[in-house]
Amino acid sequence: MSQEPETTQGIASDEYDRVEPPIGWDGQTLQEMLDESEQLLEDTGRYHGRERLEMKEDEPFQYERMFSRLRGALVNARETALHISASAIVREIGELAFQLYTPEGDCIATSTGIIVHVHTGSLAIKYMIEEGYEHGRTIQPGDIFCNNDNDLGNVHTADVHTLIPIFYDDELIAWADGVTHEVDIGGSTRGHDQLASTTRYEDGLYATCEKIGENDEVYQDWRDRAERGTRTPMFWDLDEKCRVAGAHMIREALTDLVDEVGVERYKEFTREAIEEGRQTLESRVQERLFPGTYRDASFMPVPFKQEGWNPVSQKDMLNHLPVEMEVGGDGGLSLDMTGASPPGPHPYNCSEGSMQGGLWVSLTQCLLHDGKVNDGSYFAVDANFPEGSVVNPQDPSLSYHTAWGSIMPTYQAVWKNISRAFFARGFREEVNTGYSESGDTMQGGGFNEVTDEYFPIAPFDLSCQGMGASASRDGLDYAYTMWNPETDMGDIEEWELIEQGLPFLSRHIKPNTAGHGKYRGGSGWETLRVVDRSYDMSLYKHVRPGVTNSTSGMHGGYPQATNYSVRVHNTDLEEQFEDAEYPISDKVPGDLEEDVDGDVVRTERGIYFPTTFENHDLVYYHMGGGPGYGDPLDRPFDLLKEDLEKEIYTPDIVENVYGVVGNLDEEEREFEIDHDATEERREEIREQRREESQSVRSFIDEERERLVEGDLSDPARRMYSGVFDRGDDWCDDFREFWDLPENFEINMG
């Protein structure tokens, strides 16, 4: 039977009985269990050496029922706990997830939600095992651990994990992990995905696999430290209660299950469920993909030269994120990022666990829609995130605050690679050219003039971006984000209740954001907000990419538009409001100036660092579109007519790119095609393609000369220089392609 403290009227009054090591299965220590598991995987290629899934074959109904009950317990914990106690981000858009792990830290099942964390909790558990917590700090029934240390198993600092061990008859049978995304983590600036952070020492509150409670209660000193260390202590407290409550619900459900089926059957089930997850991925690879080698590359611009605060970060940087994938003849899948940039003085450094999470959240959306979603798929993919690179720095002193700035661009390349394989195999409907990267739109906070209370600004309507096109239809408009496919915009009224000093003036489709193509990317959208009855309001904008693209289109489709920033200080809005007028859009960059007087600050960068705002200042941000697919000249006219009538594109852009000419009735939103002019314009575009292009061979000669002469921008040069400094094999491939001498290097001088 499970261990439970004595209770009085349902309230824990006594302590749990302590357990002595070894606490693993069958008299093993956790370290021995972990060693055995890793050895068996290495020796047999199968999780715990399970070649045949006996329980699945012999007792299929019982086996599936056990998985469904565990999965149901995790989803139930998520759905229930967020209504018991949770901050707005967690409650409104479900920024939480629960996972169940084996004693040695392998994920058996996960809830819905921010499923990127399936493997991060795994790394934290393995860290505790390898650091000997079993014998030193001790792991006891009723203990509560906390981790948000990215280097040890987390995605970024504002994601906070609560881990509890689950015992049955003095044996550790599982770990439950709940993770929520915090609106503030006490960093050097307000916000949850900081822009200004350049080292760990600016990131905010860290818990490093820390024991924060025992006997099911959080220590008073931890609660005090966390609540005094963050700017939104009430939200912190609500979310911690949410994580603990959910984890305890999972413990109860698991204990009931084991009472019913017996502990030995449960143990065997966990081994088989993970091995089944591994086998599912391999069989899905053979069913859906095409064997071969796939390559792509993404780029992450970091335009900090004019914006950066810390002198070491005041430079324009461009991170190189190459991805080579191999679909093996045996159904194996490998991913290699050799050639990735080194880490840097920015918040986009990303731990190996975060990258694994990104892989996982991607695979579950393209290859593993169903089946047993667990660490089996992690074991099935051979991933190399090079040590010492921005995607696996192995350096806890760096800032990891906004690791998504590396994850999101990288997985654009992964999705394109997998999509090429889908296309080759005939599964055009599964092709996805990528997505708009959400960035973090607006962050910061201020004080309410009436109540003197602090309010955070962290709108999560950013979870509705444009999705990439497929090879059979357009991308989804303003309704998708890669990191949590179940999210929605939330209600404006809910955001305004929390973000009291920044009411919305408008939301509107953002024209010309969708990537061009036979099938266009999904469109983005824009919003205008005004600072109202506040003081000490500091805001920063974090929409990426700005100054460059991060990804391409596919098969002739174009990358989506880049992002920009605009804000207006010292406006005339107070007077406008008296006449019930106000601006509602910056549809085409520059429109805003026609509707408001003030000090307009526009830049090509999608970002600005924390800036003071006064009442009636105007705040703008927009969400991007997705990349396109196929030659735009192949796009049917009726779809273009619809695009114009819905304001996905403006007529001038459609005429330039698609060659469709006509008249748009702005009021009625009706477009009439001029077929003669259209035919003429399309012939002109074809002629331009002939006249304005050159052979790739001659282009290579020119570009080579340019490289030799060093005719590159500073950020491009800095990117190549960083990769050359690391000396990966990628540099040899680079020299070979451009036919450059063995000692050729690019450096910053």
Binding site: R288, F290, P291, G292, T293, R295, D296, F299, P303, L318, G329, H369, D370, R420, F423, A424, R425, G426, F427, R428, E429, E430, S472, R473, N512, V547, T548, N549, S552, M554, H555, G556, Y558, P559, A561, T562, N563, Y564, V588, E604, G630, D631, P632, I653, N656, V657, R686, R689, S693, Q694, S695, V696, F699, I700, L712, S713, P715, A716, M719, F737
Partner: protein, 166 residues
Amino acid sequence: MSTDKSQIEKLIDGTLPWPELRDDVLPDPKDPERFETTIEILQERVDWDDRILVPLNDHLYVVAGDDGRTVKAECGHELCSADENWKLECDIRAREEQEETAELYPELMTPDPDWTFQIREYFCPECYSLLDVEAVPAGYPILQKFEPDIDTFYEEWLDQPVPDGQ
């Protein structure tokens, strides 16, 4: 899930109604004959006889012809042998300056020219179909994005002889 040939034709044409796409084509399990059906349709549509081994994109195929395996455009132009990077045989237009990228998206919504970032458009040198678009910094190598393992696919995955018998 079984899909009929007319549905796959519409899928290729982009004319399959959403209810059919959602109910018949997207769900698991997928039609195990999808590859063969797709190749059959594509082969019927091209004006040449070389056997399509694998489609690379809407206008480009790896085919088995008299000169071995080659990369061939829909218009009939042969770019290179199957194991080479077909992009090296294309025509290219690289947009880098503001006036060049401004044709695609409004001002401030294209790469900053000060970052020497390029939109590279690869055209078939015969029919000038747009075969690929890349967004990369100047000086970036032209990647060979897909090297299909055709023999393994036919022999081991489909358990069929490779159509060209090589």
